[in-house]
């Protein structure tokens, strides 16, 4: 099947993730959407890697996973502490600072 389709899929996933970030309130969900975007990137990378017939893309994909994991660690830490101090994980509640 035409490798370009993988790219379309990747783009689709990326957009879905982005949309999620834009519309979901719960910080966790938002964060998951970001992860989704990252994975979309991975898909694209792997697809390209296959097209070009070299491994760089796939290697980057691995790196991405690691980074994503790291982000999870940091992100969850922050979100949880926020949740604990204000008993809500809604990103919209966290709007003390504005204007």
């Amino acid at each position: 099947m035409n490798p370009v389709n993988y790219l379309y899929l990747a783009a689709l996933l990326f957009t879905i993730g982005a949309t999620g970030v834009l519309i979901r309130r719960n910080a966790i969900v938002v964060f998951m959407c970001v992860e989704l975007m990252l994975n979309a990137c991975n898909l694209a990378l792997v697809a390209f890697s296959r097209m070009h017939g070299n491994l760089d893309g796939q290697i980057i994909a691995f790196f991405t996973m690691v980074v994503a994991a790291a982000e999870v660690v940091v992100g969850l830490a922050i979100i949880v502490s926020l949740f604990r101090s204000r008993h809500s994980a809604s990103v919209d509640d966290a709007s003390l600072m504005k204007l």
Partner: protein, 549 residues
């Protein structure tokens, strides 16, 4: 490892091979980064094993020494000619060691040192239960106001983790402008971003705001980096490689043998343009350019002020370094596509930052918006696409970072019962109460405003000159106008400090330890020296103005 090697390895995976060629790493030329990262790791160990009482001192000592050593290493490399003649690409093409890289690394390291000083300041707040406290939560994990926190305070805990975190961040920042392939770029981005997210969250006072800042920064940062990564993917798809050199060659169409796949993707400019745009967008997010700036005010305001200072200075330096390299090394062939776009970005950034700042009432937010405006000015230099452009940007970054750290360090000094008194109304009449501090802050503000005889003016003149020579006269005019607008709010603060009557219940100015004093002092000194006699540093910058390909 080079693409072809991987390729062959992949196709002939059948028969076993006895030895794998070890990659050759130029440790010497990577030493600054390695020292800092190593120190960071050590710092973690310190957290683990050194008794709490001495941890603080150990960490401060370790960080300062490490950063100083790294700085020494940078100087050594520069002296060794790695900035000019011997500049080259190391770590199998992952990292470039050349003028801009070293110059920016040096700047970042100095900023880091000053940052450590402000982090380590423990004289500003009254001692709690006989323990000196700094700007960071006793125990970041515990809920503000909860018993566990009280206990932590009583026990005299302090978040000494901030020092290793800072070191990690610095480490990432050192690589960021030196990264010579997209993967390294991305990793470095994350390496310095993640610690910063955490650092934002650990303020001792106003923790809610601090955490909110962290969440916003984190989510938006992750969002942005996702874009960057997708852009990277696309560029990779376009060029079949993530190495700057290779991509550049593909863009120029000067690549050697063209595989059929490459031939296919090469023709597809959409990949290239979209990819480039997304990567650039990620970097613009980091420098806080309109319309990717909106995190800046909130994060600057919420984060612990020392962190804000460090972040505002160092992040900008690193990010602009990376941006420069990307635009000058990877995408020079695309100049005619991205220049107009960057024009637009620069203009809206300058004007946006300046205009919105007028009505700010919180000093940290004010500085945040001013930093946005400055990002615009620097972009003007970036657009020049001339060697002068590069050197002017380098100079500007150097000058700017010291002013910023100094300014935020001063902000930490003005305190009332609730911690730092960042609301402008509280700064009224500061000049009467403590003329010296007010005067110092005035110097920084004037530098921001770009008044002659301050580094701000020299920098502004450098970038505008470069822009004008690069044929961007319009940018200069807009820049001039927005500086005029910007002047308005810097002046407002000065008026407030000197010409309005002090409030009876106004804030007090804490007498800081030598650490903060050094930070401020260095800031002032650099500001004035670069203002009066910038030639030496301009030389430095212009020598360092050449990228290696």
């Amino acid at each position: 490892m080079s693409a072809s090697a991987v390729h062959s390895l992949w196709t002939t995976a059948a028969e076993p091979i006895d030895k794998i060629g070890a990659p050759d790493i130029e440790y010497g030329q990577l030493s600054p980064t390695l020292i800092v990262i190593g120190a960071a790791v050590l710092g973690v160990l310190v957290e683990a094993f050194v008794p709490r009482k001495t941890r603080y001192y150990a960490q401060v000592f370790l960080s300062v020494v490490a950063l100083a050593a790294a700085f020494a290493a940078v100087i050594g490399l520069a002296a060794g000619g790695y900035a000019t003649t011997k500049s080259g690409i190391v770590a199998m093409g992952a990292v470039a060691v050349d003028g801009p890289a070293l110059f920016l690394q040096g700047t970042i390291l100095l900023a880091g040192i000053l940052g450590v000083f402000t982090f380590a300041e423990r004289r500003l707040d009254p001692a709690a239960h006989g323990n000196r406290v700094d700007s960071f939560a006793a125990q970041a994990a515990s809920v503000p106001g909860s018993d566990s926190e009280k206990a932590a305070v009583k026990a005299g805990f302090t978040t000494t983790e901030v020092f290793p975190l800072l070191l990690f961040a610095v480490g990432g920042m050192l690589i960021f402008p030196a990264a010579n392939d997209l993967l390294t770029l991305f990793i470095a981005l994350e390496v310095f971003s993640l610690p910063l997210y955490l650092l934002c969250a650990v303020a001792r006072r106003k923790r809610l705001m601090s955490q909110e800042a962290a969440v916003k920064y984190f989510l938006l940062g992750a969002f942005a980096s996702a874009f960057t990564l997708f852009g990277i993917a696309l560029l990779y798809g376009y060029a079949g490689s993530v190495k700057y050199g290779t991509i550049a060659r593909v863009v120029d169409g000067t690549v050697g043998e063209v595989s059929p796949a490459l031939a296919g993707t090469m023709g597809n400019d959409a990949l290239l343009l979209i990819g480039a745009a997304m990567v650039v967008m990620g970097l613009l997010f980091k420098v806080g350019a309109v319309p990717f700036h909106m995190w800046t005010p909130d994060v600057y305001q919420g984060a612990p002020t020392p962190v804000t200072g460090f972040m505002a200075a160092a992040t900008k330096v690193a990010a602009f370094g990376a941006l420069l390299r990307l635009l000058y090394v990877v995408l020079p062939g695309l100049r005619w596509d991205w220049r107009p776009v960057m024009w637009a970005v620069a203009i809206v950034t300058m004007l946006g930052g300046a205009i919105v700042a007028i009505t700010q009432t919180d000093i940290k937010r004010l500085l945040a918006y001013s930093s946005i405006a400055h990002a615009g000015f620097i972009l003007a230099g970036v657009i020049a696409t001339t060697p002068d452009g590069v050197s002017s940007v380098l100079f500007y970054l150097g000058a700017y970072s010291f002013v910023t750290i100094g300014a935020f360090a001063v902000v930490t000094l003005v305190r009332d019962a609730g911690g730092e008194a960042t609301h402008l109304s509280k700064w009224a009449g500061l000049g009467r109460r403590s003329p010296l501090v007010a005067a110092v802050f005035a110097v920084f503000l004037l530098a921001f405003a770009g008044i002659p005889l301050t580094s701000g003016f020299a920098g502004k003149f450098a970038v505008f000159k470069a822009a004008a020579e690069g044929g961007a006269g319009a940018i200069v005019v807009v820049g001039v106008i927005s500086s005029a607008i910007a002047a308005f709010f810097y002046i407002r603060v000065i008026v407030l400090m000197f010409f309005s009557e002090p409030r009876p219940e106004g804030p007090t100015v804490a007498v800081p330890s030598p650490l903060t004093m050094t930070a401020i002092g260095v800031g002032v000194a650099v500001t004035l020296v670069l203002g009066v006699a910038p030639q030496y540093f301009l030389d430095l910058a212009s020598q360092a103005g050449v990228f290696v390909r």
